[in-house]
């Protein structure tokens, strides 16, 4: 396969020995290692790469870099593709597959292009005006608009790319590895600063790669390689190619995305100082049909020729308002292309060596472009005369815009308009404290100045960082072949004549007419004009269009461009994929996953898990071959605890040890019931409030020894309770001598519950006396089980005779299996959270987060009687607040399904009458619906404003349509006197 536009050239970035095959829009082409997709397409003579956003006009490649507004493609297999990637930035690889966007049925025959016929309708503010009335119709319009508008299609399958994140810290971040950035990095690195040097391109060197220049007696490419070699040899320097700094944030933080072969890495860089060496981006000219494929930026042509050996045309015309485009003429001729004419807007053309025989037309304009899918000729006007010049490439240059985005993230007061550039440049070389601007982005024009500024910025940064002195970098000698040409531009970017559309913003299809219309309709602020016309609002953020747009608006308003001002600069500089922001934090890696020490046993034995905070806990056990549902399994597990004996893994409950001389006093101030006063080797159920008087957490407090307590917390509240205790110990009562240590992970804990639990325990530990006298209800003993320290607690959540047995975490599985073995003759079964829920609802035990939702006081839930003594505790004063003591607050009650069958819906509201859809006042809500194995009917706990037991209410869930008539009862359904758990 031939690449008709490829030529032999010295010093290319491509490797001609490594041919690569790729597909674009279903056709196979060849390129070389080192190509971008754009350079490879141009090498194959492919100019037409997409359709425009609004009018579906044919579009070609405009630029050679990040500023590209047109050549957005889908990369990868359809469905698994990435949309909206700039062809100018996609490194070519073998087997690459890409497609155009915004075209149907094909790129060449796009039906959407018919909208051009209706284009008088599609002016600025079109959507606002057309689709606002009548408002109900929007949902119909939207479907059509969504299909016709928008950039690219979202992928339909999982993204297989790899994403990761890094946090980095450095002394100096240098953004841009062109001449200024390389010099700044070298200067600072020689003074031992830790430097990160980034550049968005794969090949470093910036503008040097497109210029014909010798530095320090070497070619630009050799000089770049030698400079990079010095930097890369230093351990203190990190060079990141293909990395875009997309945002600058406060305190020296920068967001970077690095593209690698496998995926992307998001770097959060904290830099003590930074050097902006971001260069400048060329602007196009605004004229009739300036969007035709084959109209390209003049500087981009130099890059395609000098980096890739690609000459995008045989016979070129050049249209410019500045000298720099004359270098493109020289470059094209060296590459063997013909330069038909240079059309210069200005009165005088520069005298440029080597272009003596090229026709140069001054005070001339391009007023039209012929050829709808590719440039065939340009129409020019010189004075009042029109001429047609046949060509297949039109190189345009409307001047250069320093890339000041990162400097302006955080405020535009760092910028001032500069007439020579026709654009905004930084106000000084350190426009933001700690951020140096250098090189072209700082307004430096000649290469010598750019290099000198780079050295100065590196030295200034190193000085400010307090780096030791070193031999300064010498300013290298620069030799331009044929003389250096200035980017200073005439303050004109627009041709008034011509019949076609004049595009200002190619990506958003914003024309001169749209801007004029916005001004006619009264928009004056550039921010409003931008929003109304969508100027500069595409994924390219108007890199090639903003300055031209502002200039046209300023002219029409009779103002200076600096009076009109710029729009606000915001991160990101280039679009950042959601994958990069998410990194590895997706799916199961979204958060930490915690497993109990007995987890693997649960997995092997059919446990179905449910999350509880960060933990996974067994909800129920699906016994092999039984095919039970959740309800069937849970009822069976719960009934087995009531009738026989069961075990549950409660290792996830929070455990905190509190030690020290003042531990008892500390606990007395945290719990409503003076838990510090619990007797030695005794457990006490305790309730903690928040300072506002509402219940915060509950659990047991056990006195292990003098001045040593173990408290338990709800699983999900373990972290919050620890933090709460630390806060009060460190900031409120620092005079108390207390040490707090979380020990949750150190212990595996098993609840053993049921009438047969004592016999099981006796069988498990034959040498221990576990009689009711030796280990009474709320008793504690430290024992030795299989040679390890074991904590034995007589506490019950299920309401049955029950124990909790704690062993060091590594021994959890041993304990679990030993309990199953010891309990085998008694019919022991494990039970999960669902059965635990049935059991505790029957018993009227509450759960933090469901029944206790941060709005209930101890009195509301019948625990007011627990409050002990007169001394202060956290939350006590708040309980006296009028609203917390008033009559009629919802209180905890129980409910039984009136017909004994209908399930009580979850999260139901309680109302007085049967629900028919007519609104009624809510009298409260169901907090815990369940099923009582003892009563064999649905029961529930709830908070309601009810006077007496025995009344009838309706528990209604209007969302699901479920309702149940319920009878109000006491919130205890089983063993109200607690004889079973004390027995």
């Amino acid at each position: 396969m031939t690449q008709p536009n490829r030529i032999a050239w010295d010093g290319l970035q491509i490797d001609r020995r490594r041919a690569l095959s790729f597909r674009f829009n279903g056709k196979t082409y060849q390129g070389y290692e080192g190509d971008t997709l754009a350079s490879a397409l141009l090498a194959n003579g492919v100019h037409l790469v997409g359709r425009s956003f609004k009018y579906h006009r044919p579009r070609g490649i405009l630029s050679a870099g990040v500023e590209e507004p047109n050549a957005l493609v889908e990369l990868g297999r359809e469905g698994a593709h990435q949309p909206n990637l700039r062809a100018t930035e996609i490194p070519l690889f073998d087997g690459l597959e890409a497609r155009s966007q915004n075209c149907w049925p094909s790129l060449k025959w796009d039906l959407g292009a018919a909208v051009q016929l209706a284009s008088p309708m599609l002016t600025a503010g079109f959507y606002y005006k057309t689709f606002m009335q009548p408002s109900w119709a929007w949902r119909h319009y939207e479907k059509v608009i969504r299909k016709a508008a928008g950039l690219g299609k979202a992928p339909t399958v999982r993204d297989e790319a790899r994403y990761d994140k890094r946090h980095q810290y450095c002394d100096l971040l240098v953004v841009g590895a062109g001449p200024a950035g390389l010099m700044a990095a070298t200067s600072a690195a020689r003074r031992s600063a830790r430097v990160i040097l980034v550049d968005e391109r794969r090949e470093l060197g910036g503008m040097l790669l497109e210029e014909s220049v010798h530095i320090a007696g070497q070619t630009a490419k050799q000089w770049v390689q030698q400079t990079l070699a010095e930097l890369e040899a230093l351990e203190t320097v990190t060079v990141l190619p293909r990395t875009t700094v997309f945002g600058r944030y406060r305190h020296g933080k920068f967001g970077l995305v690095q593209h690698t072969e496998q995926g992307q890495v998001l770097h959060s860089v904290h830099a003590r100082r930074a050097v902006m060496a971001t260069g400048a981006i060329e602007r196009p000219m605004v004229f009739s049909d300036n969007d035709r494929p084959g109209v390209m930026l003049a500087g981009a042509i130099r890059r395609y020729i000098r980096c890739y050996g690609v000459v995008p045309g045989r016979r070129a015309a050049i249209f410019t308002n500045n000298d720099s485009a004359y270098e493109t003429a020289r470059c094209l001729r060296e590459a063997g292309a013909e330069v038909a004419a240079i059309v210069d807007l200005r009165e005088r053309a520069p005298s440029v060596a080597g272009l003596d025989d090229v026709e140069i037309l001054t005070q001339a304009e391009v007023v039209g472009v012929q050829g709808s899918q590719h440039v065939k000729a340009v129409e020019i006007e010189v004075g009042s005369k029109r001429r047609r010049i046949a060509c297949d490439l039109l190189c345009v240059s409307g001047g250069w815009t320093p890339t000041i985005h990162l400097l302006a993230h955080g405020g535009k007061d760092t910028l001032a308009y500069d007439a020579a550039w026709g654009a905004f440049i930084p106000t000084c070389s350190e426009p933001v404290p700690g951020i140096h601007a250098t090189g072209a982005c700082n307004g430096a024009q000649s290469l010598v100045n750019i290099l000198a500024q780079g050295i100065a910025a590196g030295e200034a940064a190193a000085e400010a960082l307090g780096c030791e002195a070193a031999t300064p970098v010498a300013l290298p000698e620069v030799q331009h072949r044929g003389g250096e040409l200035s980017p200073s531009a005439a303050p004109v970017c627009e041709v008034r004549g011509g019949r076609g559309k004049k595009f200002v913003d190619l990506q958003d299809d914003v024309t001169v007419r749209d801007l004029e219309l916005a001004l006619r309709e009264g928009y004056r602020s550039i921010e409003h004009v931008k929003r109304y016309t969508t100027l500069g609002m595409g994924t390219d953020q108007g890199r090639t269009s903003n300055i031209n747009g502002m200039r046209i608006v300023a002219e029409r308003l009779g103002k200076r461009i600096d009076e009109v001002g710029t729009t606000t600069f915001r991160p990101p500089f280039t679009p950042v994929s959601l994958g990069a922001l998410a990194g590895r934090e997706s799916d199961r890696r979204l958060d930490v996953l915690r497993r109990s020490p007995i987890h693997d046993w649960h997995v092997r034995n059919g446990a179905v898990f449910m999350p509880s905070g960060l933990w996974l806990r067994p909800q129920y056990y699906r016994r092999p071959g039984h095919g039970e549902t959740l309800t069937e399994a849970a009822r069976k597990e719960a009934a087995n605890v009531r009738d026989k004996v069961g075990i549950a893994d409660v290792s996830t409950l929070g455990k905190i040890e509190v030690q020290g001389r003042d531990a008892a006093e500390f606990l007395n101030r945290l719990y409503i019931n003076r838990c510090g006063n619990v007797g030695l080797h005794k457990a006490r159920y305790g309730v903690m409030l928040r300072e506002d008087g509402f219940v915060f957490d509950d659990g047991t407090v056990v006195k292990l020894a003098d001045n040593r307590y173990l408290i338990s917390t709800t699983t999900v509240n373990a972290g919050a309770v620890l933090s709460h205790m630390e806060f009060h110990q460190q900031m409120v009562w620092p005079e108390l001598s207390v040490h707090i240590e979380p020990v949750t992970e150190q212990w595996a804990v098993v609840a053993l519950a049921g009438p047969a639990s004592r016999e099981v325990l006796a069988r498990l530990m034959p040498e221990e006396d576990v009689s009711n006298q030796a280990l009474p209800f709320l008793g504690y003993r430290e024992v030795c089980f299989q040679g390890v320290t074991t904590r034995l607690f007589r506490i019950s959540f299920s309401g049955e005779l029950a124990y909790e047995i704690a062993v060091p975490a590594d021994h959890g599985l041993t304990l679990w299996e030993a309990l199953l073995e010891a309990g085998e003759p008694f019919g022991i079964m494990p039970y999960g959270l669902e059965a635990m829920d049935y059991l505790r609802i029957e018993k009227g035990h509450l759960i933090i987060g469901t029944d206790i939702d941060g709005r209930v006081t101890p009195h509301d839930i019948g625990l007011g009687g627990m409050i002990r003594g007169d001394d202060d505790f956290i939350g006590r004063r708040s309980l006296q607040r009028p609203a917390l003591t008033e009559e009629g607050r919802p209180r905890l009650v129980g409910f039984v399904s009136a017909d004994g069958e209908t399930p009580i819906p979850a999260s139901a509201q309680l109302v007085a009458e049967r629900w028919t859809g007519t609104p009624q006042d809510s009298l409260g809500r169901i907090t815990s619906p369940g099923f009582s194995p003892v009563l064999d009917c649905p029961i529930a706990l709830g908070l309601a404003e009810v006077e007496a037991e025995g009344g009838s209410l309706y528990a209604v869930s209007p969302l699901t349509g479920e309702q149940a008539e319920v009878t109000v009862t006491r919130p205890v359904f089983h063993d109200p006197k607690g004889e079973r758990l004390r027995g």
Partner: protein, 92 residues
């Protein structure tokens, strides 16, 4: 963005810390003697200054020390910091 200089661990990323709210209100030494209005002020009344604000942060993923931090709510600059003994609102 925010880098918080923990007196124990040195300057660390703010993601290691947990915000604990306004630190201007000290808990009354004897809540029982405080009026409802004063107690309500302690519980709920908060300033919302554009500028220096003293607030609690805990170095949760570090030494677990609770700190009083004076932060500029406009610039996010950490103006000063200290432990329990630091006076509310004053520079340490």
């Amino acid at each position: 963005m925010l880098r918080i200089p923990c007196p124990y661990c040195g300057e660390r990323n703010y993601t290691e810390f947990t915000y604990g709210g306004d630190a201007n209100q000290a808990r009354p030494a004897n809540p029982a003697t405080v009026s409802d209005t004063e107690w309500e002020a302690f519980l709920y009344r908060r300033g919302n200054p554009a500028g220096e604000h003293i607030e609690y942060w805990q170095h949760s993923f570090g030494c677990r020390q609770w700190l009083k931090v004076v932060r500029d709510t406009v610039t996010h600059d950490i103006v000063s910091m200290g432990g329990h003994g630091m006076e509310g609102g004053e520079k340490a």
